[in-house]
Symmetry: C2
């Protein structure tokens, strides 16, 4: 706590690494690439889970649990799928003291093991749609760890659904993408661009991958979730058929969709500042912290009593009273600012006399006196206000760092250097070879083909071939 955080503008990466550790969000696990999610970080994840779980269930999605261990042969059944994941697998070769006959893969995702079960549980059109979700841990081997963003094990939810038609599946994949968008915009105060991935960037085994891209505070992009229309790829690989109303066998059409603890990293990188985290009120584990202020011991009892009463008044919110002894108010202010608590209530002997408190906003630093009888409605209104301001600020930042780029010279100039390049709106002809060359030459990747781009004729930024709309390129995490 003694040292200051590295400056966000000077060294964004180190600012992030230090902040995650110091704010008590996460720590490095002992096995390479693993992460410990500490109580404060996990509480944030619990709030994310609560929102999403409720939304999924409104669509009739049911939670289930599928095994951690996948027989190697299962993963091989869908060719693109195994090719995509092979380099990232962790493999169990010993169980109960003996060498296993068939090696077990620690799940990198559960398409194969879920579809084996689905194949036995779908018989007729009456069984459709089958809407499943699992909250679990998955493992994808990583050598360079970045907490929340790139770890060998992470937590997520993975939804897996089966439908009677291609169109039903496609609509459902899009509906879940909208749930994620609602989550980012209304809960995480994070503007996102929705659209689809190019063929090169789509999920191994998908027909179409839909995604949300968000801009971090260094103007890099973060893929914030994915929702896949799997077509009938896994249905054919696993023989998942149903009898339709005409009593004919048909393959099902499927989706899968996931959002992970990576989202916590996004929230840190979108909103934080040089003092630490700034958490959106709807997700903050602590929404309001009360800091009692007294200099002499004679004041302590009276102030603590008033502060305890305040805590009770505010128990509709996620509120904490910082009763730690032997720490100065200044130390406590810094500590709660580091942890990004949206609102701070200060109360001291003079405030008690005047029947008021001081209210301080984490996002703007603004401080104001509030009469105690107006505290409850003021806190309520202020939290909404902070939530809205945070979204508006992030939206403005994203817009200010989005560039319409028409020449490859400008594209190269904008992507030169080590930092982020913002979102670059450029024409692309659709060829994977152009996409690959751009990436190799500039380290910018095609993040998303946005849904709401204007239909506008243009020339591919790389080879000049015809293009029907602009896409988003960026340097990404």
């Amino acid at each position: 706590m003694a040292d200051k955080l590295p400056s966000r503008s000077e060294d964004f990466s180190e600012w992030y690494n230090q902040l995650v550790l110091r704010a008590g969000l996460a720590d490095y696990g002992p096995a390479r690439g693993t992460m410990i999610i500490e109580p404060y970080g996990y509480a944030l994840w619990e709030n994310i889970q609560a929102y999403l779980d409720k939304r999924f269930k409104e669509y009739g999605v049911k939670n289930a649990y599928f095994p951690l261990f996948i027989p190697q042969s299962f993963l091989m059944k869908e060719a693109e799928h195994v090719e995509g994941f092979a380099p990232q697998l962790a493999v169990v070769t010993i169980g109960g003291g003996v060498e296993l006959e068939e090696k077990l893969i620690v799940r990198p995702t559960s398409e194969t093991i879920i579809n084996d079960w689905v194949s036995k549980n779908i018989h007729s059109y009456r069984d459709l749609p089958l809407l499943l979700n699992a909250w679990n841990n998955v493992v994808r081997w990583e050598l360079r760890t970045k907490l929340f963003l790139r770890t060998s094990e992470f937590l997520w939810q993975e939804g897996h659904t089966s439908h009677a038609t291609f169109n039903d599946a496609d609509q459902f994949a899009l509906a879940m993408l909208q749930v994620y968008k609602d989550f980012y915009e209304t809960q995480a105060a994070t503007p996102v661009i929705d659209g689809k991935k190019s063929e090169a960037e789509k999920f191994a085994g998908a027909h179409t991958t839909y995604t949300l891209e968000a801009m971090m505070g260094d103007t890099r992009a973060l893929q914030s979730c994915t929702s896949h229309n799997l077509g009938d790829n896994f249905a054919r690989a696993f023989g998942i058929q149903y009898l339709d109303r005409s009593n004919e066998l048909q393959y099902v059409w499927q989706t899968s969709w996931g959002l992970s603890t990576r989202s916590v990293g996004g929230i840190i990188m979108v909103h934080g500042d040089d003092k630490g985290l700034i958490l959106p009120p709807r997700l903050a584990p602590t929404q309001v912290v009360i800091v009692p202020i007294y200099r002499k011991e004679v004041e302590q009892a009276r102030v603590m009593e008033a502060a305890t009463r305040l805590k009770k008044d505010l128990n509709h919110f996620r509120v904490e009273l910082d009763a730690r002894e032997g720490l100065t108010p200044g130390f406590k202010f810094n500590d709660w600012e580091l942890r990004g608590v949206p609102l701070r209530v200060e109360i001291g002997p003079k405030d008690i006399e005047k029947n008021q408190v001081v209210l301080a906003r984490r996002d703007s630093g603004e401080k104001m006196f509030v009469p105690i009888e107006e505290l409850l409605p003021t806190v309520h209104q202020m939290l909404d206000n902070i939530q809205d301001s945070m979204f508006a600020r992030a939206k403005r930042f994203q817009e200010e760092n989005t560039y319409v780029v028409d020449t490859y010279a400008e594209f190269k100039q904008r992507t030169a250097g080590e930092g982020g390049a913002g979102f670059l709106l450029a024409h692309w002809c659709g060829k994977a070879s152009c996409e690959k060359s751009i990436q190799e030459e500039t380290r910018a990747t095609l993040r998303v083909i946005p849904f709401d781009a204007a239909k506008e004729k243009g020339a591919c930024i790389f080879d000049g071939a015809e293009s029907g709309q602009r896409v988003v390129f960026a340097k990404a995490y």
Copy 2:
């Protein structure tokens, strides 16, 4: 659905296996020993989680997440611990395509990896108590699978706490045992016997293991949770020390406590009957099912409209309307009885005329007419009533199958044969050798040294040595 379940009294084991599969609670995973928890079983687990999570948090426990993979060297640090778990480990030897330098153990429990983190995060008495819990999956290799009861992977919560004194830790371990007892008695309608384990049966690395034992429907015992006072064993192994108020270094005192998806198996085995599950109302995923009854198509619209209105009236409960077409009411009754839904509401054309419904209790089979305007309070009262009756019935069963045994001849006679032996209250001198011999000769194990046993002098059932109280022996899962 066509075949009847095996009879519970004739083949309890096969009745259980079939019931778990047919009721849609769980299925076998493709890798040996693994389990798929299907949506209905998982919904039950979610209700268990919701109750426990709330109770833990009332004690100030915070959730966190620790890595799945534990370096082999960590597990070796506590000698008893590694010895206890060595035969059950799953080992990752390949990661990202290469042979690992240090093998990784898939966690069988997280004492070691959590205590490594704890050792870095406790400095002074101000950091105590440190109260952590994790909801996760663990792996303990099993060759003979029994769904929910014995699987290589299972879900659970594991609490881990650190305290300033032995006594603080002991009190906390007992407080968590009481939370579990409250859960079993008030939610799972299951009477339990609380007490401690013998030295032979305690957790590998614990000072004392507390436990709850419940009697299943075949009179076998099921260990329903454990709560360990770990003493300072792990604190010494991991060097977890704090500065006390006199500025002297002290080792912390610790607990760990867990309840797993095994509890779902217990609920099935305590309450089910030949028709299927009987779920306690407080945990049932569906508390009330509405079955519309119509013979002709002309009746259908009117009945469905009334049934839909009923569902809305009852939306305070977890209610489902069985609107499946092409299935007879009789088929639906059997189906929901198999799935153990506590209350069934039947509504047909005659009921609509009379402004009534038929209410049927799953536990007793009792049916009654209820005027629609009295339905809401009646359902409320009936669910409480069922919950209480289920507990009372299980309690009576436990008492009827508990025997005071004073001679080893009677002990052997009661434990002869393949079935359960009930709870045998017998004197035991405290020697591990007697305990071991009894187990070898009778297959009954010492389940629990009950807290509330009368202090009564007696002679050890095996060797006649002096004993101060009776303990509970049983054949167990």
